[in-house]
Each structure stands twice: as C-alpha cells, then as structure tokens.
C-alpha cells in the first residue's frame, strides 16, 4: 500500500464516521431527505465562496456553503409553516431552485471559474491526496484529511457534550421543552452540523455519496437495534466497513471510489433488509404468515365451539362453510391437532378440554382487550406455532 492509498482510506473512514453520526439522528427524526436537500443546495454557497476565496478547501468557503445549507432548512420550514404545501413538497421546491441558481452562476462565469458541477456533484476520492496542506513548506498531509478531521472532532465533542439533550429532543420534543432546553436550538445545531459535514465531505466524495453515507449506515443500524447508543456504534462501523471494502473493490475494478462505496452500502443494506433478525423482510413475512395461520386456527376453533351439531363439524363440511381450500384446511387441522386443541373421530371434529378452554379465554380476551394483541395467550397455550 502506498501512502496515498492509506491516506485515501483514512479520509474515507473519517468521512463515513462524520456522516454516520448526524445521519443517525436525521433518520430518527424523520428528516433524512433534508440531507439530500442540503447536499444539493450548498452549490450556490460553494460557487459564491469559490468566487471569493478561489480555494475549495478554504474554511470560509465551507462556512459560507454550510450557511446555504442552514438557509435551505429555514426556507423549507418557512414554506411549511405557511401551510400552503406539505413538508416534502417544500423540500422538493427549495433545493432544485437553489441548485439551479448555483448551476447558472457557474455557467455565467464559466470563463473565470475553474469549477464544474460534476466535481461538486460526483467528487473523486482518488484525487484527495494530491491537494496537500502546507505550512511553511512542510507537508502535513492532504487538505481534506484536515478538513474532515476537524469536522469529525467537533461533531464528536458536540455529540458527547449534548448526547442527553439530543436523545431527549429526538424522542420526546415536549419533554425536552419542559425540561428547559429548546428543541429549536438542538434542531438547528444538528442541521448546522449536517450542513458543515456535507460541505466538508463533498469535494472528497461528492454530494450524493454524502447522502448515502448519512442515511444508509443509520438505516442499517435502525433495522438491527432500537438502542440509540448501539445504533450509533453500528452505524459508525457499517460506515467504516463499507468505506474500506468499497475502496478495495474500486481499486481492483479501477472504478469510482465513491460509487463503489455506495454500492457496498447498498448491498449491505439489502442483506440487512432481507435477513435482519427481527425487522428484516424475511422475518417480518414469516411472522405475518404465522399470525395469519393462528388467526385461521382461532376462527376455526370458534366455529367448532359455536356448532354442537355433528353435520357442522364434519371434515368435508369445513371447506364449504369457512370457504377454505383443501391445503389451508389441512394445515389448520394439523396445527390444531398438534396443539391438542381438537380430536377427530369418524371424520367428526370436536374440541378437547384444552381447546374449549383456549377458545373461551380467547373470546374473553378479544372482547375485553380489543386493541391489545393476543400474543401472550398464544404463548401460554401453543405447543407449536403456526
């Protein structure tokens, strides 16, 4: 590994961590799309900053562009407060407008400015080490490393200092307000951090990857845990892991690093989306299927309890009466038999004592706790789940 490669990987990891932290809170606050809006609307800020400083890594440019990000949030909230359109429409109106202004500013000054929309939008990590941070001729490493390192340090400091406040205002705004720290201050603080991070990271990795690095690790973590601290840790680690894997894949394929990191994040998300133990697609579908089967079983048992006459309890009658197909009737019957709820004699089905007890309790439960799930009762009675 050459030193440039190591530098690129360090920058990628720092960006991943710096994005994952605010990203987690954005996802929890249902404001993920704000990060997308910010990543686009910082363009006019960057352009104007570039006119003034002519240096993409100047701290003034970063502050100015981050201001545009915060202005975006303010504008979105202003439009939303007028009640004329919904929040998502407000977001969708503000950022393309600001972005258009940025594009036009660049186009109108194309002769004086060496700035391309592609650069802002797509970024290229591979070039990051070639811009060095020099003091008195001494090489202190790539500029973006210093920029993103500083941002990460500030983010971490703020996170540790205000963790409690962030947590409470994220999950319970009213409580936060009554405890005396303004949710508005926390909100704008978070927005400022998100803006600064986006601006600091864009020229290394591009605006779109910033969005990916903010949202995807947080979403992955949210599918795996409900604990805020664990979620932050998982988000940070999945960010770092994708950054490193993405870098090496890009290295072997000789392709865009940013694109490759996003792709790795995508694959990682897909895996978690499918296989997450409790909230993954497969386990959700499995649970739904099981619940459906158990509702069938309950319906079936209630039917048996309602009808004492033998004709209603004949095996063949079931498919006619409850309108179930053969396979479904058979699975329900098997399940009931396995759980010792019924016995079948000469094709006539009758409830056992246990089945009787379960059905009575279930009716009782449903009529008194109509809004509460019946899960606990099932655990008491079922030997086998559906």
């Amino acid at each position: 590994m050459s030193s440039a490669q190591i530098e690129i990987q360090i920058i990628a990891c720092l960006v991943a961590v710096a994005c994952a932290i605010p990203g987690t809170f954005l996802v929890l606050r249902k404001m993920a799309m704000i990060s997308d809006a910010i990543s686009h609307s910082i363009l006019p800020g960057i352009v104007i900053g570039f006119f003034l400083t002519e240096d993409l890594n100047s701290p003034w440019l970063i502050l100015l562009a981050a201001m545009t990000g915060v202005i975006t949030v303010v504008l979105v909230e202003f439009i939303q407060k007028t009640g004329l359109v919904k929040e998502d429409t407000a977001i969708g109106l503000v950022f393309p407008t600001l972005f258009s202004i940025g594009v036009i500013l660049i186009a109108k000054n194309a002769n004086d400015v060496h700035l391309d929309v592609d650069v802002v939008f797509l970024g290229e990590l591979a070039y990051a080490p070639s811009y060095r941070f020099l003091i008195n001729g001494m090489d202190l490493g790539p500029k973006s490393l210093w920029v993103i390192g500083t941002i990460l340090l500030v983010t971490l400091l703020l996170l540790i200092t205000f963790f409690k406040e962030l947590k409470i205002s994220t999950f319970d705004k009213q409580l936060a307000a009554t405890l005396g720290f303004s949710p508005v201050v926390v909100h704008y603080g978070l927005m400022s951090i998100a803006s600064v991070t986006t601006v600091g990271a864009f020229d290394a990795v591009g605006a779109i990857l910033v969005v990916a690095l903010m949202i995807a690790p947080a979403a992955i973590a949210y599918l795996l845990t409900n604990d805020l601290k664990k979620m932050l840790v998982i988000a940070v680690f999945s960010g770092i892991a994708s950054a490193l894997t993405g870098y090496w894949i890009a290295h072997y394929l000789d392709a865009s690093i940013a694109g490759s990191i996003a792709t790795v994040l995508g694959v990682l998300f897909l895996l978690v989306y499918l296989f997450a133990p409790k909230k993954g697609l497969i386990s959700v579908l499995f649970r739904q299927k099981r619940q459906q089967m158990e509702v069938y079983l309950l319906t079936f048992l209630l039917h048996l309890q309602n009808h004492t006459e033998e004709s209603e309890r004949h095996l063949n009658h079931l498919s006619e009466h409850i309108n179930w197909g053969k396979i479904r009737s058979k699975t329900v019957l098997d399940l009931a038999l396995k759980n010792n709820m019924i016995i079948i004699e000469n094709n006539i089905i009758s409830l056992t004592e246990k089945g009787q007890g379960f059905t009575e309790k279930a009716i009782d439960y449903i009529t008194t706790n109509s809004t509460v799930a019946i899960e606990k009762m099932k655990e008491d009675f079922f030997l086998f789940r559906g």
Binding site: P96, L209, D254, A258, A262, T263, L265
Partner: protein, 374 residues
C-alpha cells in the same frame, strides 16, 4: 437577442422548434402527473426515482453499446420502477420511514450508477458527454423522435387519466372508501406510480436528474394554490408546466451559456412564488390583508362595545358624551372614531360623540353574540 428576433427564430430554426415543443409537452405532462404526486404526498418520489434511473441508463448502454434514446429510456424505466417499488416495500415491511427509504434508494442507486459510469468511460466507443446529459440535462439534445416519444406518452397518460379519473380521484382523497367500493386499489396505485416514473424518466434527458423533481412538483404546487378542484388543478398545472418549459427554453436560447434545465426550474419557481403570494384564497398577501382587516374590525368592535356600555347607562341612548371619557381606554384613535362614523355607528360633534340607532343595535347584538357564544 430581442423578443422579435426570438419569434423569428422560432419559425425558422428547426432545433429551437423541436426543443420548445419538447419542453412544452414535457412541462404539461409533468404538471399533470405531478399534481397526483403532490396530492399523494409523494413529492420527493420524483427526486428518488430520477436518481434511481441512472444505473438503468448505464446498464442499457453497456448492453446495447449505443446511445439509442429508446433503449436507455427502457433501462431507466426498469430501474426507476425497481426503485419505486423497493421504496414501497421498505416503508411497508420495515419500520423505516418513507424519508429514509427515499434517501436510501436515491443515494444507493445513484452511487451504483456512478460505478457503472466509470466502466463506460473506459470503453473505447464511449463518449461520456452523451450520458452526462442525463445528469444535468441538455434540452438542446432533444431530437424530433424524442419529442414524438414525449407526445405519445403524454397522450397515453392523458387517456389513462381520463379513463380512470373517478377511480384516481377516489384513491387520492379517500383510499379506504375506494377499497370498500371494491376498486382494485393496488392496481390503481401501481398504475399511477408507473406513469409518474415514466414521466420522470422521459424528462431526464431534458432537465436532468437533479432538477426533474422540481419539474414534477413546482407546477402542481403552484396550481394547488388557485383551486380546490382536482380537474382544475391538473389543467392549471399542465398549463404552468408548459409555460415554464417554453419560457425557460426561450430565455436560455436567447443567452449564451445558460443550460435549459435550471432556467426552466427557476421560471417554475417564480410561478410558485407568485402563486404563494398572490393567490386570492390561500395566498400569503391576501391572507395577511384578511388578518389585518379582522384585527381592525376587532379593535372597532372593542371601542363600540365600550361606548355601548356608557350609552346604556343613559336614558336617551343617543345622548352625546364627551370624547374625553374614552381617554383611559386604549382602543380608540381619531382614525377609529372616523371609521365608526363612516359606518354610521356613531355621530361625532366636535368633542362629543353619540351612538346612532344603528350603532346601538350593532353593539347590543355584538354583546348578545358574545353571550350566545359563551
């Protein structure tokens, strides 16, 4: 370039005709379908889909190795649809919210698209500029076959909207009712999503990935301010959309170095701003004026009620009182007295005022109303 020069050019220049027609049709189509996106609270779907279309375009190019618009269009459509339905899947099956799902699909698909683009760059016959137009849009590259495709799709969506108008309306405003009436909600939902995705995909070439969402939203958001009827809104949005298309093309054609997409979006944004401020019923300006009038009326009523309480104690209700009595009461100024006199509630004679019959009635009714309300 002046206006006359532009109009001359419009009749003679074939490219300008094509581009103008293209952006006009595109604007109308976006306005039409965008109304549904806005009302279904799927405003940001456009943004997500337009980004999600990129890998489809790249893959179509890798497979066909040509820049045939239609092949790229189909690729974009397929990956846009996968994106759209994956978003639905995430929202439906996990506890991630729609904003997270949108942001995820947007950034992950786009990142994958970028990865594919770097492969294309390395191919011998690749002229990357050809695909770059999908990122930021170049209306100038529209050729007549593209415009025909747009017209065809616009016609098709208009037809579908007309055929399923009643069903779509019901789906928008009361999906549960629609379900209970036995309409196939899922089919309708898929149908409208399909057409929104289709509209986004054909707009990409003209206005680009980033600005497509504004194309979809802005005309609809502007139209929403002027009406409460779905039909009128769709029509207005289509008109706003095509106007922004035509005006944007005209402005960018008359000045060098201005790409069409951003100009169209800015024009549409001006439409929105104008509608937000000046729409008679919902607009901010008239709303402020209404508030202001109401506040003034309340002040006047306050003064009138105070006067009424004084006049009530006197046998003759029209007996004049001195203005000085009102001094310790803040709700009066010379202007407000003048206004009350204009409405014939009081008569002012030098430094004396007296309630008129009309004013007395008004004031006592005011009082009654308050009592009734309590």
């Amino acid at each position: 370039m002046g206006i006359t020069e532009y109009i001359d050019l419009l009749f003679t220049d074939y490219t300008l005709q094509t581009v103008t027609l293209g952006t006009a049709v595109l604007g109308a189509l976006c306005g039409m379908l965008g109304s549904f996106a806005v009302l279904r609270k799927q405003s940001l779907l456009g943004d997500a889909i337009s980004h999600a279309a990129l890998p489809g375009i790249a893959i179509a190019f890798l497979i066909t190795e040509t820049k045939n618009s239609n092949a790229l269009l189909i690729g974009a459509l397929i990956s846009g649809l996968i994106g759209a339905f994956w978003i639905r899947g995430i929202v439906k099956n996990t506890h991630l919210k729609s904003d997270t799902a949108l942001g995820l699909i947007l950034s992950l698909f786009f990142g994958f698209g970028m990865l594919l683009l770097t492969f294309i760059q390395k191919m011998p016959n690749a002229n990357q500029a050809g695909l770059n137009k999908y990122l930021f849009g170049q209306a100038a590259t529209l050729v007549s076959s593209d415009v025909w495709t747009m017209c065809f799709i616009a016609g098709l969506s208009l037809l579908v909207l007309l055929v399923f108008w009643k069903e779509f309306k019901l789906l928008l405003f009361d999906a549960d009712y629609a379900k209970s009436l036995g309409f196939n909600i899922k089919f309708l939902d898929v149908l409208i999503t399909f057409f929104i995705v289709l509209c986004i995909v054909i707009g990409l070439q003209a206005v680009g990935v980033v600005l497509m969402s504004a194309m979809l939203l802005a005309p609809a958001a502007a139209a929403r301010q002027w009406t409460n009827s779905l039909g009128v809104m769709v029509l207005l949005a289509a008109i706003f959309g095509s106007f922004s298309g035509v005006l944007g093309t005209a402005i960018s054609a008359s000045s060098s170095n201005l790409s069409t997409g951003p100009v169209i979006v800015l024009i549409a944004a001006v439409f929105v701003l104008f509608s937000f401020v000046f729409s008679p019923k919902r607009g901010l300006l008239f709303r402020e004026i209404r508030y202001w009038n109401n506040r003034n009326d309340l002040q006047l009523h306050k003064t009138l009620a105070f006067m009424y309480n004084i006049a009530k104690t006197h046998k003759n209700k029209e007996h004049p009182h001195t203005v000085k009595i009102l001094n310790n009461f803040q709700g009066f100024t010379k202007k407000s007295l003048q206004k009350l006199e204009d409405r014939e509630y009081i008569k002012v004679n030098k430094s004396m005022w007296s309630l008129t019959e009309k004013g007395f009635d008004k004031a006592s009714n005011l009082y009654n109303q308050l009592e009734n309300n309590e």
